[in-house]
């Protein structure tokens, strides 16, 4: 196989170690990179070969877990979702996500995000508690009803939108694009009846009216969630409810599942016979 040509790229990484100093400094590493290598690959290379004390968070390395958000060349990205080549620079600066407290090096404390996410009650709320606890039927939801919020369910809680938001840059208490988008995601779910509880929070001092549509959250979101859209739609919902323009909200009906369901499909045949299992030779 042909060897991939390798290119040396300089990584400037903002380091912070509270045990040593309360100041940050840039550490420089030269990493041989090949085509298709991500910034996360480079960080792993540095950790394995150059400096094992470098701290960063990663898990899935495929833009699913939301661990590796960081500021790459002054723009928030998921490190595992950003190829070095696409940056088109010889020097890559890597810094922790702004607007979140930094624990060490590139590791930020995401607990403000999780706390605010919890505040908006990100689960289905209904008045019929017994039905919720012991369901007798299913909630019917049309594909259109599903699509009205599906996009916002792809959030991986990476915190990138918070670091992009200029309001979050100055207002620690602001609920932030992530939580407000999830607030809308549940409020507009046709199975949900928790609007009143969540509106109280969205309409509060630290809520939705601090969003002035800078749109940076949607610009930067690595999952295409478009939190800015969710937030504006939530503003509209709030205004519509306050002015009584939308009328009453219809919840989806409960639909009893069919009693006589189709017979279950038989379990597929194993392709590997127990006795000839590779492990046993």
């Amino acid at each position: 196989m042909k060897e991939l040509s390798s290119k040396n790229i300089t990584f400037k990484i903002r380091r912070y170690n509270p045990e040593k100093s309360n100041k940050t400094h840039f550490a420089t590493f030269v990493v041989p990179t090949t085509r298709g290598m991500t910034v996360l690959d480079a960080l792993l290379y540095i950790k394995e070969n150059l400096d094992s004390t470098l701290a960063f968070r990663t898990s899935c390395r495929m833009a699913i877990c939301g661990s590796c958000g960081m500021l790459i060349n002054k723009y928030p990205h998921l490190a595992c979702h950003t190829q070095i080549e696409e940056l088109k620079t010889k020097t890559v600066t890597v810094e922790p996500l702004p607007n979140l407290p930094v624990i060490k090096d590139l590791v930020v404390d995401l607990s403000p995000l999780f706390e605010k996410h919890k505040l908006v009650k990100p689960y289905i709320i209904r008045a019929d508690r017994p039905e919720m606890d012991n369901p007798t039927a299913e909630f019917a939801q049309s594909p259109e009803e599903l699509e009205s919020f599906l996009q916002f369910t792809y959030c991986v809680k990476c915190g990138i939108c918070i670091s992009a938001c200029p309001t979050s840059a100055t207002d620690k208490q602001f609920l932030g694009p992530q939580a407000l988008a999830q607030c809308y995601r549940y409020c507009t779910d046709s199975r949900d009846d928790g609007e009143r509880e969540r509106f109280l929070l969205a309409d509060s001092e630290n809520g939705i009216w601090h969003c002035h549509l800078a749109g940076a959250c949607s610009d930067a979101c690595p999952k295409g969630v478009d939190p800015a859209l969710a937030i504006q739609l939530l503003k509209r919902q709030l205004v519509a409810r306050a002015t009584n323009l939308l009328g009453k909200r219809e919840l989806t009906p409960l639909v009893t599942p069919p009693v006589h369901s189709k017979p279950k499909l038989p379990f597929p045949q194993f392709t590997v016979n127990d006795k000839t299992d590779a492990r046993e030779g």
């Binding site: 840059a169 940076a216 478009d226 859209l229 504006q232 503003k235």
Partner: protein, 146 residues
């Protein structure tokens, strides 16, 4: 047990309004809207003070007018016109978009993502462009007229 280590505060702060990264223009229009809003407010306050001179003696009114004929005040007046043109038209854009109009519907995120602001670029930037045109017309007036 050891004390938990201090976490570094890393808020961009007000500097983040001025420069936060290579974001699209709306993030900086946010700042401009705020600056122009406060600018117009400042103008109104000054305007209020100056016009009260008119109700006092004629001398103080004329003295005030004398100061206002200073080229710097002319420039200031011009900036207020620009600020008003921008603030009102961008304000119109914000009212429309913040109520969720012209933003499109939620769509499955398929790469490359096109978010709602990117979709409504054409007409929203037309509004801001109109503000720029008004600015140019008044710039001509400012340079040629006086």
């Amino acid at each position: 047990m050891r004390e938990p280590h201090p976490k570094r505060k890393n808020y961009l702060g007000i500097m983040g309004w001025i420069w936060g990264g290579n974001y699209r223009i709306e993030r900086y229009l946010y700042t401009l809207h705020r600056v122009t809003g406060l600018g117009i407010l400042l103008f109104f306050l000054v305007h209020l003070c100056v016009t009260t001179f008119f109700r006092m003696q004629q001398q103080s009114w004329e003295a005030a007018m004398e100061i206002l004929h200073n080229p710097w005040f002319k420039l200031g007046e011009y900036l207020v016109v620009l600020a008003f043109a921008y603030h009102s038209l961008n304000g119109l854009r914000l009212i429309i978009q913040e109520l969720g109009f012209g933003m499109g519907k939620p769509a499955p995120p398929i790469y490359p993502y096109r978010d709602s602001l990117r979709k409504s670029r054409r007409w929203s930037m037309a509004l801001v462009g109109t503000a720029a045109l008004i600015a140019l017309v008044f710039l001509y007036d400012f340079l040629v007229g006086g």
